[in-house]
């Protein structure tokens, strides 16, 4: 384990001009006009990333995650603090930003490689891999301005992942390309992980972080509010989102409903695999509310096993104590501890009204022969 990225006390302040005078005339006429407000995008951020680590950087829009990423990539200078980086770094910030439309795909591969800081010799060595990966063999000598946007992005991604970087920084680029190409990108990221490289992965999609990262850092309003195993960080992230939503909620609806606890009739959360289980979810509501109910089951490693809801029949909360029952007819899970999240969302499913992360943990015991997560009861015989 070697530290490859060390972020020490990074802060970034932007000056926001409310009146922008960019021309000479305007500057002369209004030397001091237009109020300038300073905005702290990042406040004293500290963390390190080691080799062999995939770290997710999570935060909602405006949390400062992109600013932090730009500082790490060296696109932006921090206002104070230092970032130490070891090894070569390839950033997938905006794919194809360095492409020159007038040049051919081939020329652009070399130019883009040089921009990422790799030598011509090295790019020559990986050129065939790049072309293979991007799947545009027939167009490699065509001017890039004639490319479709998909070809453009594929070529850029192919360069960035084939130049053999020690650190790969990915910023929500997986949203591009068709499904098959996305799968290919995820595959590439996985092989990067297997090779022991470091990946810094930025997104506001918690599911992607769960799928890829071992560790997650949560940013909110320029402050780092969590840094730890993905599972724990995402719990903090969700709770924090909930808290700030309550703060900003004018109707008072969010504050009025709270999930108190989950109980079982027997009081125990231990279950044998294949057996059924019943939960009672106790909810206190200040007023009447009709919405949807959601339950999620996760493994301890943060893998989502199941998300289910009330299937179109709303739960009607009345003022005071409410109890909602969940029946699991049979739990086909194998040995292990599983976390249960429950929540109330609005009928359209857009807004979370109340949420309880890790409301309960169930311990499943299994003595069969199957391995993995669920028992499918496969019967194997010769025919």
């Amino acid at each position: 384990m070697t530290t490859v990225i060390k972020v020490e006390g990074i802060s970034k302040t932007f000056n926001i001009h409310h009146e922008r005078h960019q021309s000479l005339k305007e500057r002369m006429l209004h030397p001091r006009s237009g109020s300038t407000e300073s905005f702290n995008a990042l406040n004293d951020i500290n963390f390190t990333v080691d080799t062999n680590e995939t770290v997710g950087l999570v935060g909602h829009n405006g949390s400062g995650k992109s600013t932090l990423l730009k500082c790490i990539c060296g696109v932006l200078q921090p206002t104070s603090g230092q970032i130490h980086i070891r090894g070569s770094l390839a950033a997938l910030l905006e794919l194809g930003a360095g492409f020159q439309p007038e040049l051919s795909g081939r020329d652009n591969v070399f130019l883009y490689g040089a921009m990422l800081g790799f030598s011509k010799k090295m790019v020559e060595g990986i050129f065939d891999d790049v072309v293979d990966f991007s799947e545009i063999e027939n167009f490699i000598d065509t001017q890039v301005k004639f490319y479709s946007s998909g070809m453009y992005v594929r070529l850029a991604f192919a360069v960035a992942v084939n130049v053999d970087p020690d650190i790969l920084v990915v910023d929500e680029v997986l949203a591009v390309g068709d499904e098959r190409f996305q799968a290919k990108c995820i595959d590439r990221i996985r092989s990067f992980q297997d090779e022991g490289r470091s990946i810094l992965f930025v997104t506001h999609n918690a599911d992607q972080v769960r799928a890829i990262c071992d560790r997650a850092i949560v940013l909110d309003g320029g402050h780092m509010i969590a840094d730890g195993p993905t599972h724990d960080s995402l719990r903090i992230f969700r709770e924090h989102l909930m808290d700030s939503a309550v703060e900003h909620d004018r109707s008072g609806l969010l504050a009025s409903i709270s999930i108190d606890s989950i109980t079982t009739p027997s009081g125990s959360f231990d279950v044998r695999s294949g057996a059924g289980m019943h939960f009672d979810v106790n909810i206190t509501s200040q007023g009447a509310y009709s919405g949807n109910f959601v339950m999620e089951i996760f493994t301890r490693k943060g893998l989502l096993i199941s998300r289910s809801d009330a299937k179109g029949s709303p739960v009607n909360l009345t003022p005071g104590k409410n109890c909602i029952g969940i029946d699991l007819e049979q739990i086909p899970l194998l040995d292990g501890i599983y976390d249960v999240n429950v929540g109330v969302v609005d009928p359209r499913g857009n807004t979370v009204i109340a949420w309880r992360e890790q409301a309960a943990s169930i311990q499943v015991t299994y003595d069969g022969r199957e391995g993995g997560l669920v028992e499918l009861g496969a019967a194997i015989r010769q025919q």
């Binding site: 060390k6 021309s23 000479l24 230092q82 980086i85 950033a91």
Partner: protein, 320 residues
Amino acid sequence: MSEGSSARVDRRSLESDAFRVVSARDSLFTRLRNLWNRRELLSSLIRSDIRIKYKNSALGIVWSMLTPSLFLAIYWLVFAKFLKNGIPDFVTYLFAGMIVWNMFNTSLSTATGVIVVRSGLVKKVSFPREILALANVGAATFYFFIQLCVFGLYLVVVQHSPDYAYFWLLPIAFLALYFFTAALAILMSAITVYMRDMEHFILIILQLWFFLSPVVYSYEHSIAPQLHAHGLAWLYFLNPITLIMLTFQRAFYVATTAASTTQTMIVHGHAVPIILKILPSWPMSTYCYLDLALLGITVLLFLLAEVLFGRLQGNFESEL
């Protein structure tokens, strides 16, 4: 995936690698070292600049020779034929000054807006930003050498033999030209981010600058007498381009006149050709000292421009 990747699984250890530091303000030394480390990017950018410029034109790279030649023809027509400025063998004189001017002019007019134009790149990819401006200077340097070849060809055709004794001064003068041009290009590219008017303003400045430099007239003949009368000759030399041009003109132009090849006169104990008062009658040592001093000053200017650029680039992101 290709077979190559399986070989890569054995990652090299990064233990021994030094840390690169990103901080609020890098020292000049760090900035220069980063610049040097990314020289390959610089050459890539220069090559792509040159390629793109002539990509879709029928004559292609020929334009880099044709344009200055046509300008040369126009100036010759206007200044030698219409205005009769009386400089013998005016085309050679003009050529020597024009190649210097073209390098300066092309660099500045392209580099001034380059960071604004390539803002997409500046906001997304990390590299020393001044490389964009330096790439424009690099491309102009490439055209400079092409034009120098054309000039050489011209001299052969008209059977003019330059004053080879002065040729060793040319690299010094050229380096001074390079550093001065690069310093201004870097600075202007950064200033334009904050004041977009510069893109237009620079064209006016360059036009004025052209006439403040001895390209189409002779300093010694037209300017020096009046300035000397008021003791203001130094004022004219505040323009570093002047001295660089004089060096180029001294080396290429001087031997042209029939008189200069045969007649000499003694100045400060040195034999100097009489050059019909077109160029200053300095001995070689004066040219040498002045050029060396200028080179020193322009290198300092370049370093100063680097420092200022470092200060200015901190807010590029929010201004672009």
